[in-house]
């Protein structure tokens, strides 16, 4: 079977598909972080005084904090003074149409497969594209505005909707929450802001593409989504990053506020550069994502994590209101030397709160995949229910899968179920497929997608297709 081994070798050594860099004249701060940098950053973004205060308080808190070490990750120390905290494409006039966008930037989007011209025509998807730290284009804004929905960059929201931002920013993830969240609160560059008014069902999937571009620029997105009473919104986030030698830091914060009776669905496909096959380079992805669900509200996190050298991420739900529901569906893939420590926290505070956790970890090459989850049932959470299922799949003999489920139950009426499994993708399964005429690569893809099915079906349709493709790209060459 030497021929198939050769093919696999070729596929494995193929370059990262999204590894390119766009030459755009950028204005970048020199590396380093102190209060002065934060003041300049805030001034550059023409922020109000309260925003600067928020940043400075966060910065001062951050100075007293240390990086967490409880995770199951091997991380090269990050020099936070070697990072530049601001980079913006220099030409940023007020844009009336896409024609005015820097053609180089537009070409980048096209390479990523998101031609905005087409996106405008595509029904149902509004795109707020973040190019480095500043939003360059927003579509569908007017249509959404008719319904009173606000969908804009965080920078614009701070200027145009200061009351909403001020009320909710940091209300779910306070700047004291953890080391990376504090850093993000101090220096966040941009991100998305969504507000859906009372009783409004957002008629389209909202999506954002993030992309790290300028060299040595850490990116610190900040996203805030507020669904007012009875509102419904589905938000998609997908990202790719260009090839790099040095490790790049990415520390985002996402806050979801689901008021009474509202529903927020947040789906992510994460495909940052994972490093090369020797484990050189790749993105460090330290993300804090959390939602707060009030009475009868529902928050669903769905994530497909295929990228990054290191992923540290626990999208969580605070089920504060009675009858609120939290869901977490996750596929995390680690190939080559990738490491992931990911999972969720479900914090049950209200009565009759329910949560579901379905986690699928796939490890190949030397990849290390850790599921870490905590289910907390508070004293007053009468009749709370949780169901957790954590499945791991191993491809090859050099990878690892680890599961750390934590349970804290302070109310005896709670029902908590936990199931876990570890399986190895079998030679016999692959041979069975081959014997029916299906190639090794297709067989692996099929077996893996069968394994992830429960998560994929939670994704919006167009994302599910993309997720499946990504998964097969990520696992290319993992079986030989």
């Amino acid at each position: 079977m030497s021929t198939s081994a050769d093919t696999i070798e070729q596929l494995a050594t193929r370059e990262y598909q999204y590894g390119f860099e766009t030459e755009v004249e950028a204005e970048t701060f020199p590396p380093g972080l102190d209060e002065d940098v934060i003041r300049r950053l805030s001034a550059k973004k023409q922020e109000p005084e309260w925003m600067l205060e928020f940043r400075l308080k966060a910065y001062r808190a951050w100075l007293k904090m240390t990086e967490p070490t409880w995770h199951n990750l091997k991380i090269e120390p990050v020099d936070f003074q070697a990072i530049s905290y601001y980079s913006a494409p220099k030409k940023r006039p007020e844009l009336k149409s896409l024609d005015e966008v820097d053609p180089e930037v537009l070409r980048t989007f096209e390479k990523l497969g998101i031609p905005l011209e087409e996106q405008k025509l595509l029904a149902g998807v509004a795109v707020d594209a973040v190019f480095d730290s500043v939003s360059v284009a927003t579509t569908f804004r007017e249509k959404l505005a008719e319904l009173g929905i606000i969908f804009c960059s965080m920078s614009d929201a701070i200027r145009e909707h200061p009351d909403l931002v001020r009320r909710y920013l940091g209300s779910v993830v306070p700047y004291t929450d953890n080391f990376y969240a504090a850093l993000n609160s101090a220096v966040f560059s941009d991100g998305s802001f969504v507000y859906v008014p009372k009783g409004v069902r957002c008629p389209m999937e909202l999506s954002t593409y993030f992309r790290i571009n300028a060299r040595n620029t850490g990116q610190f997105e900040r996203t805030l989504i507020v669904a007012d009473e009875g509102a419904t919104v589905s938000y998609l986030e997908g990202c790719t990053a260009p090839m790099r030698d040095e490790n790049q830091l990415h520390a985002a914060v996402v806050e979801l506020v689901a008021l009474d009776g509202s529903t927020i669905k947040y789906s992510t496909i994460q495909n940052w550069y994972p490093g090369d096959s020797e484990g050189r380079g790749g993105i460090y992805n330290f993300v804090t994502k959390r939602g707060k669900a009030m009475a009868n509200a529902k928050i669903t996190w769905t994530q497909v994590e295929t990228g990054s050298a290191i992923t540290w991420k626990y999208p969580s739900c605070i089920l504060q209101g009675d009858n609120s529901v939290g869901e977490f569906y996750s596929v995390a893939v680690t190939n080559n030397y990738q490491q992931a420590d990911t999972g969720t926290k479900m914090i049950h505070l209200g009565k009759n709160t329910r949560s579901t956790i379905v986690s699928k970890g796939i490890s190949a090459g030397h990849g290390q995949n850790t599921y870490r989850g905590a289910v907390t049932i508070g004293r007053n959470a009468q009749n709370a229910r949780n169901y957790s299922q954590c499945d791991s799949m191993l491809i090859g003999n050099r990878c690892g899968a680890h599961t750390f489920p934590y349970l804290e139950i302070k109310n005896t009426s709670a029902t908590v179920e936990h199931e876990a499994s570890t399986s190895k993708i079998g030679e016999e399964q692959i041979f069975y497929c081959q014997q029916r005429g299906i190639s090794t690569e297709d067989a692996v893809n099929m077996i893996v997608s069968g394994f992830c099915k429960e998560v994929f079906r939670e994704l919006p349709m167009e994302f599910a297709v993309e997720a499946q493709k990504l998964l097969s790209i990520s696992l290319e060459g993992s079986v030989g």
Partner: protein, 254 residues
């Protein structure tokens, strides 16, 4: 001829299992390969299909004018080699019908035929499923997941019916089947007999051969075909047991 095996020698985990096996199969013929446990029957079936875990140390296999040993397992399948597994494996989350459509379209693509769309494929599936008495629920379940032993074997022959191979190898398809399931499976196989299709039935017991009547019967012992004959050889084996042949061989050697 469709298949010619010459002096085939095969090792598994450093142990020689096939020690110079010869077998010739012409188009349209049904051959039964019988033998005691550990004689190398399943090894023969799996080596023909290209299973990993075996090392061919000598001899040759010519299939349809090609050197079979040079072909990857999926290419062999596309070229019309089908093996019904002794222990069909489960694939969670993958719909049985979806799996089979992927397989069929991959075979059709190899042959330069257009892929079947969902409607055409379902038509084919309905026709073949009736043959094996497969109900809709079995078609919609994940591949082999939650199937009984008998259902798994029926599913194998159902796949064979859809993929229409030139050479089908049934590896102990009768094992674990009750008499009703055995009849269904045998009926399915018989309906697939044709002048263009050759079938090798690997089995320990002659029971299956009451239903799938072979043109030739071979006895495999000690990694070689030690005796070949017609249908009557199987009956003789049933009557006398494998000990008879082995004793005779020992006698011949002594």
């Amino acid at each position: 001829m469709l298949l010619e095996i010459k002096d085939l020698r095969v090792k598994a985990e450093d142990k020689e299992i096939l020690k110079g096996l010869d077998l010739t199969v012409n188009a349209g013929e049904v051959h039964a390969v019988m033998g005691p446990n550990g004689s190398g029957k399943s090894t023969l079936a799996r080596v023909l299909a290209g299973s990993p875990g075996y090392e061919v140390t000598g001899g040759s296999i010519t299939y349809d004018g090609k050197d079979l040993l040079e072909l990857d397992p999926e290419v062999r399948a596309c070229e019309g080699v089908f093996m019904a597994f002794q222990y069909p494996i489960e694939i969670a989350g993958i719909n049985n019908t979806y799996f089979l459509r992927t397989a069929l379209n991959s075979v059709r693509k190899h042959r330069g035929e257009p892929e079947l769309d969902a409607v055409e494929f379902m038509q084919l599936v309905r026709e073949k499923a009736a043959l094996l008495e497969m109900d809709q629920a079995m078609l919609n379940r994940s591949v082999n997941e939650g199937f009984s032993g008998g259902e798994k074997k029926r599913n194998e022959i159902f796949q064979m019916a859809v993929l229409e191979p030139k050479l089908a190898i049934l590896d102990e398809t009768d094992s674990g089947l009750d008499i009703d399931a055995l009849k269904i499976v045998a009926n399915g196989v018989n309906s697939l007999r044709s002048p263009e299709r050759s079938i090798i039935v690997v089995t320990h017991y002659q029971r299956l051969l009451n239903y799938i009547v072979p043109d030739f019967v071979h006895v495999l012992s000690g990694g070689r075909i030690v005796r070949s004959g017609g249908r009557e050889l199987a009956l003789e084996l049933e009557e006398k047991g494998y000990g008879w042949i082995e004793a005779e061989m020992a006698g011949a050697r002594g």
